[in-house]
Every structure is written in structure tokens, then in C-alpha cells.
């Protein structure tokens, strides 16, 4: 399957035109829509600005929680089902200016809350490798549209692991850079202190290309970072000999998973094999032991903080200044009705949790304690980053789940293994998932998380490992497993 650079060459040598590429993407999008449901909106008008960027003429898909002027942006929620924004998100604007061509807006878990891809108001998103399985979420359609080969890249958002988990389940690359590297202006906020913008691609080089376009200071986002005068693409091939990686014993130790299913054991075995390959490449890889209690605190802290922030962030959805107006005899009833009808049960549950967590009498015990745990975890990571260049771990404890299976994320065994990627959101660390082979004919992922601000270095490490593993540009149609 073609990468951005392959398509770049085709376009530059006039083998194909940008419009033909767009039309190809659109027709594939329609072809797969009924079965996999990647899109909320598929565009039919080819629109492109002139540019000299590497993305000039390249088609892409955008998660439906980004504001696109004149184009429906639903966040896959009924409360925004007819919402057409009046302004452009910074990432969308940058991509437009880079000459990239928008193919469609992709399905997500409602308001980006959830990790299954099953809660959108337009239905579930299926895994291209096995339609009886989930693609994961919340950036479900962005993952599947790349995994299906509809577009070479797509944009997602990542608050807990919403890009990096579905990337693993879909056999594609998912990258979110350092917090603030890419502007969040125009991304519908879920949990502002954890929200990141990132991308899905078919290879690490493409992730670098897309990030090179998107990164930079935005006057509209006070948390955005100043411009760096480097292109990540240019440092991908840097020598990595002697660079140090670590993995966490309490997450990867096979001893802990004696009663676990075959798949988990295979995932962990594959991970250990990859470690060996890393050593062959010249990396120094060491096992590090962390306080298990701290690791077990990741998921509850994440839920506590994200639900609290989500409650506040989504308080603008009342149907008063915009959105479907509720019914009632007074202002409170009208807002109450709009929110009752507009959100699914899952969302309401999160809001109630968030509201409870922020209540004066609970805030110290729940919200503040979760923030303290977050700080402890980040401090521990930063301490490790003094000696290591990156952390590597399996992106998940298994393959993409079947729809009928619901993973109990709170069950002790998988509590850490399934949720550790939120560490990167806690600390705003650059974090990338790349394909790590197959288990039961389903792709699995390897996660690499670097220190804050070291986006180029993290991509460099991922690029070298990807080269060694050889799982670049996976796609079901073309890959006979």
C-alpha cells in the first residue's frame, strides 16, 4: 500500500493527479462505508489550495470532533448531529494550506469518550482485519480509514490512548506528539489537560511528515509550544546505537499472566522478540521495576481527571446558543431536555461521575488526589528519562476485541497492561504505536514513548525499529497472513 512519499512521487512524476487520488479515495470510502462505517461525512467536492508542501495533493480524513467551517462536525453525538461550524480548527487550516485534500470526517466514540468505536450516533466502526472485531477508539474511523487504504493518513485526537490503541488494532502507525506541539484550537475538548492532536499513517516517516506540517505555535492556543526549527523527517535516520530503552517489569512479566489466554501470552512473547531485535539494532534495552500501586493508579486517575474535565468542557452543549433546542417551560428545563435527549447513557454516566468528582466535598479526595497521582507518575517517568531515551511496551494485552466481548478494564490482570498508554497523556510525552506483527491473524502494536519535547528523537527510534520489524504499510487486502 502506498505511503505519502510514494504518492508524492507519483504526483510529482504526473503518474496520477491529485483529483484522481481524491476520487479514488472517495470511491473507496463509499465502497467500505456500509460494512465498516468509517465516516460520518464523505465529501464529494474536490477542493485544494496550491502549495509546495509534501502533503500537496494528498487525500486525508479528519476525525469528526474537529471544527470545519461549512462541513458538518458532529463529534458523533446526537447533540451535535446537525452542527455546521463557522470556523476552522487550526490543524484543518494548516492542512488546507499545505494542499492536502479532505476526503471525509470520521466516526468516533461519542464526544471522543470511549475506546471501542461502538458508541457513535451513526453506529459502530468495524475492524478491517476482521469485521467481527472492534477497531478500538475513540479515533475509530480515522484508524479504519487508513487501515482500509482509503487514505494514506488521517487526523485523530488522543486523550488516553485514542489514537495509539486503534492504531495497534488496525495495524497502522499512530502518533501523538508532545502536549502543545500541535494546536488544539478547534478540537472539541474532552479533557483539556490530556487532549492531544495526532495522526494515523502507514509508516513512521509519514507520521513525521504530517507532524512537520501541523506543529508550531498557535496564537489561539496558549498551551501550544514555540516553533522548533527542525523537520522531524530529516532526523529519522539518525544513528541510534547506544540509545537506551526501558520496559516496565510489572507490565510485561510473563509470570504475571499465567492464567491469561493464549493471545496475551503471544502478544507478550512477540514483544520480547522485538526487544531482542532492538538490541540487534544497537539499542540498550533494560527492564525497569516500578511500584505496582502507582501503575494500578493510572486508569482510575485517568478516569477521574478526564471525567471531571469532560463535564466542564461539555457544559456548552445546552442547545441555547447552538444545537437542537430542548423543550420546557423555563430555561433550566429547556437545557435539561436538550442534554437528556442529546447524550447517550454512557456519556451521561461520565458527566455525573465528573460532576461528583468536582463537588466541593469530594474534590480533595478524588480530583486532587488523582492529580497528585498523575504528578507522581509523571515525576517517576521524568526520572527514568534522565537515564533512558524512550520507554517501549506492548500497546495492548491482546488483539482487537470481538464486539460481543466487553473487556473489563478494571479487572486486575489487564488494569495496567490495557491502560498504561495514558502515561503519555499525563506527562504530555510524545508517543507512537507501530505494528508489531500478528497474533491469530490480527495485527498487534508496539508503543514507544519518549520524553517531553523529544518528538524527533522518539520518531527516530520508532523509524529504526519499524525498519527492522518490516511491518510497514500493512493493509488487509494486500497482506496475506
Amino acid at each position: 500500500m502506498k505511503t505519502i512519499m510514494d504518492l508524492r512521487n507519483d504526483l510529482d512524476s504526473s503518474k496520477i493527479t491529485s483529483e484522481e487520488l481524491f476520487n479514488e479515495s472517495v470511491s473507496k470510502a463509499h465502497k467500505y462505508q456500509d460494512e465498516y462505517n468509517s465516516f460520518v461525512t464523505i465529501l464529494n467536492e474536490y477542493e485544494k489550495q496550491d502549495s509546495n508542501s509534501l502533503l500537496n495533493g494528498i487525500p486525508y480524513a479528519l476525525k469528526d470532533n474537529f471544527s470545519t467551517k461549512g462541513i458538518l462536525s458532529t463529534s458523533s453525538s446526537n447533540i451535535l448531529k446537525d452542527y455546521v461550524p463557522v470556523y476552522d480548527a487550526t490543524v484543518y487550516k494548516k492542512l488546507k494550506e499545505a494542499g492536502a485534500v479532505l476526503v471525509g470526517k470520521t466516526v468516533l466514540d461519542e464526544l471522543a469518550m470511549g475506546g471501542t468505536g461502538t458508541t457513535a450516533h451513526t453506529g459502530i466502526v468495524k475492524n478491517p482485519w476482521d469485521a467481527t472485531r472492534q477497531i478500538g477508539g475513540s479515533s475509530a474511523g480515522s484508524a479504519s480509514s487508513v487501515a482500509l487504504g482509503i487514505v494514506p493518513f488521517s487526523i485523530g485526537s488522543d486523550t488516553g490512548d485514542s489514537i495509539r490503541k486503534p492504531a495497534a488494532f488496525g495495524g497502522v502507525v499512530g502518533f501523538k506528539p508532545t502536549y502543545g506541539r500541535i494546536s488544539r484550537y478547534g478540537l472539541f475538548a474532552f479533557a483539556s489537560s490530556l487532549d492531544h492532536v495526532g495522526c494515523f499513517t502507514r509508516c513512521v516517516e509519514d507520521a513525521a511528515i504530517v507532524t512537520d506540517i501541523l506543529k508550531g505555535k498557535d496564537e489561539r492556543d496558549m498551551t501550544s509550544l514555540p516553533d522548533e526549527n527542525i523537520k522531524y523527517k530529516d532526523i529519522l535516520n539518525n544513528d541510534i546505537k547506544g540509545k537506551k530503552l526501558f520496559y516496565i517489569k510489572e507490565i510485561t512479566n510473563l509470570e504475571m499472566y499465567k492464567d491469561a489466554g493464549e493471545e496475551t501470552l503471544e502478544v507478550l512473547t512477540k514483544f520480547k522478540e522485538t526487544i531482542e531485535k532492538c538490541r540487534e539494532l544497537g539499542f540498550i534495552v533494560e527492564e525497569v521495576s516500578l511500584d505496582e500501586k502507582l501503575l494500578k493508579a493510572i486508569y482510575p486517575s485517568y478516569m477521574t481527571i478526564s471525567c471531571a474535565e469532560a463535564t466542564s468542557n461539555n457544559s456548552n452543549l445546552t442547545g441555547i446558543p447552538f444545537g437542537p433546542r430542548g423543550e420546557g417551560n423555563n430555561i433550566n428545563d429547556i437545557m435539561f431536555d436538550a442534554r437528556t435527549k442529546g447524550f447517550s447513557e454512557l456519556i451521561k454516566r461520565r458527566f455525573i461521575l465528573g460532576s461528583y468528582i468536582l463537588q466541593k466535598e469530594n474534590q480533595e479526595r478524588l480530583f486532587k488526589n488523582a492529580q497528585r497521582l498523575r504528578r507522581l507518575i509523571v515525576d517517576k517517568m521524568n526520572e527514568l528519562y534522565e537515564s533512558y531515551d524512550a520507554m517501549i511496551l506492548p500497546a495492548s494485552g491482546g488483539i482487537a476485541p470481538l464486539f460481543e466481548d466487553s473487556i473489563d478494564r478494571m479487572s486486575d490482570r489487564y488494569l495496567i497492561l490495557e491502560n498504561h498508554m495514558a502515561i503519555a497523556n499525563f506527562g504530555g510525552f510524545p508517543s507512537i504505536t507501530i505494528p508489531n506483527g500478528f497474533v491469530n491473524n490480527m495485527p498487534i502494536g508496539l508503543n514507544i514513548t519518549g520524553p517531553q519535547f523529544k518528538d524527533g528523537e522518539t520518531l527516530n527510534i520508532a523509524y529504526k525499529i519499524e525498519e527492522k520489524l518490516g511491518f510497514k504499510g500493512l493493509i488487509k487486502e494486500e497482506y496475506d497472513v
Binding site: N65, F188, S312, S315, I320, P321, L358, K360
Partner: protein, 471 residues
Amino acid sequence: MYKVTIGLEVHCEVKTNSKNFSSSRNTYSEYPNENIDTVDIGLPGILPVANKEAFRKSLMMALALNCKTPDVVMFDRKNYYYPDLPKGYQITQMEKPVGVDGYVMINVNGEDKKIGIHDIHLEEDTASMEHFSDYSLIDYNRAGVPLLETVTTPSIHSADEAIAFLETLKGIFLYTGVSEARTDRGQMRVDVNISLSKDDTLGTRTEMKNINSFNNVRLAIETEIKRQIEVLERGGEIVQETRRFDEEKMQTFSMRSKVDAVDYKYYIEPNIPPIKIEDSWIEEIKKDIPMLQYDRVQKYMNEYELSRYDSEIIVKDKLVSDYFEKTISLGCNPKSSANWITSVILGHLNKNDLKITEIYLTPKMLVELIDMVDSGKISSKQSKQVFAKCLEENKEPSKVVKELGMTQITDDKTIRDIVVKVLDEHPDLIEDHRKGKNTFDFFVGQVMKATRGQANPGLTANIIREEIEKR
């Protein structure tokens, strides 16, 4: 006797070009929903960008109120649902406001008092709403306008003190240029907390919110004190609650009790990183704070020996006070300048609804005019004519005096010659004068007539007296 304790929370809109967290204009508009953008109506995906000018002015106000300013300032979210709050939360300051632990000196009927400032914090205003029988209208023009909330300690003990504090605070807003502080446009709104007790402990307090004129603050305080005394005298208890002051009925009514108080679920605003306040910035801002009313009054009374009454009249408007100080820096006698300003100029300004900077007479010209009177070049009466003509025709006083040929005759011999001539013509009237009849004014009048009013009146009177004596 009950001891009254009052705390005030004063909301005042900050004067800036754009709103607190968006780039839409911060200006008074007659048309609803004219000054709004995506941020102000809380569209999905928007982010706040803190307004540096609002921030600088808030720090200036904190410093003017002798507050401590923190090294790092942060913003918090106050969460509640109401259509006037489009994001569903208000960005405000709880943990690290721009100023804490300050004070301000006020003067209440001649007595100096120190009022404690608990804190001063920057937040955003809400939209304004109008409610009708079966619908309501929302105007988002005000949504997001920078709002400074000044919270006093419970250190106010009467309605007079409360009003003196508010006048002083308003004066500081105007002097520093932080706000236009216009109550008629709802730019300054007051919450009042009142409690009564018989000893030094604080009684249970009630709160009245959003009172929009100082006069109503006075009435609300007086009304609520009266009510609380009645309750206590009956042996009743004051309930901690929010009450509403009804100015027509002159009563306060219970709105909601403490039990129903909203939990605003404050937490840190994640989209605005902590802002570091450099000492150099604080020093720079301090330099921009002019001497304030209270200190100017002290100075005028102590250094210039003006009365408190005149001093307070002059400092009421900073432009007038600055004008006055300019004349002094030009060497003018402070009392003459003050007299001119309070008795002549302010009258003219009020009558014509003008600012002192809008009249033709500059401080320099006023000093010139005063000098001409003091040196006897023109009479005091003439100077009033000159003033009027000067403003009427936009001409400098010296030019007006020249054009009117208006110089005063102060030469003894010239006047004496005229006096002798007048006396010679009326020997009978000199007789009448000696018999006790008042003919003196007639002689003065004749001299004035002969000199077209240019003879110095004092000198003329003396010479007439001397010449009559001689005969």
C-alpha cells in the same frame, strides 16, 4: 446598640480594546450580539487567550489597592448552567488572584479610615438577559468582557463608610484608567454582605447581589440593617441567605438560603498556563499609577492649605486635578488657582457639559489671567469678562485685554487729577457727605465713568477720601 459589619464585592468592567479571552471588541453597543465571536458564544473547540492589557490593568488596580501580587497568576473555572454563561463555566481566579491582602484609605465625613481588601481577581462578564412573559432575550455583547472583582474584608461599619469606599474605589478606577466605572451602563455592580452583633464577634450575614447604583447600595444597607434589628429585637435569628433589595417597596426579600447555595465546582482552567509575573513588570506598572485622590486631598490640605471641601471638589475629576497641579507647577498661587477653578471654571464646565480639557483656557492662560489681577493690571471684575470672552472667541487672555483696551489705571496722579475735577464740580455733595449722607459712591461712580471703569477701585476710594479731607 448593634455593631454593623459590612463586606462589599464590587464588580467593575475593565476598559480594554478586546474582550478578556477573545479578540472581539470590548465596547458598549446599542445593538445586541454585535461584538461577539466564536469564543464568546462557547462554540465547540474554542480556547481562551488571556488579554494582556486586561491583565496589566488588573495588576495596576491590585497595586493601587496596596495588594500583594503573586509570583504566578492562574485562572480557575467556576462551573454552573445558565444561558448567560455560554461555555457553561466562567473563567475567574480562585487560587492565585492578581492581588490579595490590600487596603485602601477612605475619608468619611472628615475622618480617615482604612478598609481592608481581601482580594482582587480578574474574570469574565456574563451575557445580559432580558426576560419577558413567555420568552427571554440574550445579548452576548457583554459575555467575556474583562471584569475585576474587588472583595473587601468585613471592615465597613455603616452605609456612609460603604459609600465613601465605593466613591474612593470608583475614583481609583478612573484615575488609573482601569475602568470607566459607569454605573449607568452596569459597568460597576455591588454585592453587599451585612451582619449585626452586640459584641466584637461577627453575626450571621445576609447577602444582596448585583446592586447597580451607589444610592441603591445606601438604601439597601439601611433597609437591611433595619430589618435585621427588627428580627433580633423580636428575639428572632438571622438566617444566612441571599436577599434581594426592592427599591420600590424599600424592602429586602429572601431569595435563597445557604442550604440551596450552588456548588461552583471550581477547578484550575487547563487552557491558560500559569503566568509568571516578573518584578520588572510590576515596577513598570507602579510607575504608571498616578497619585490618587486620597493622597492628593492630603497634599492640597497640608501643602497648599486648601480646605477639605475645595480639595475634594478639585480631585473629583482627575482632569481638573491635573489642570490645577499644572497651574501650580507654572508658579501660580494654589489658593488663587483653586478659587478660579472651583468658583468660575467648574461652573462653566457644568453649565456647558464640558471637560476641562475641552475649554480654550489652558492652565498657562489661567496663570496669566491670575497674574494680571494680582499685579493690578486688570481688576478682578474685568478678569471675569476676560475669561468669558477668552472662551467665547478662543483668544488668549492677554490678547483679549489688549483688544478691549482693558488696562487698569493705577497711577496716583492720573486718578487724583480726575478726583479733584469731580470734587470741584460738586461742592454741594461734599457738604452732604460731611453731613452724613452717602454721596461717596457717587464720586466713585463719576471717576469710573471718566476712566471707563479702568481706575483701580481701591486706590480711587482712598484718593477721594484724602481729597475730601483736604478741603
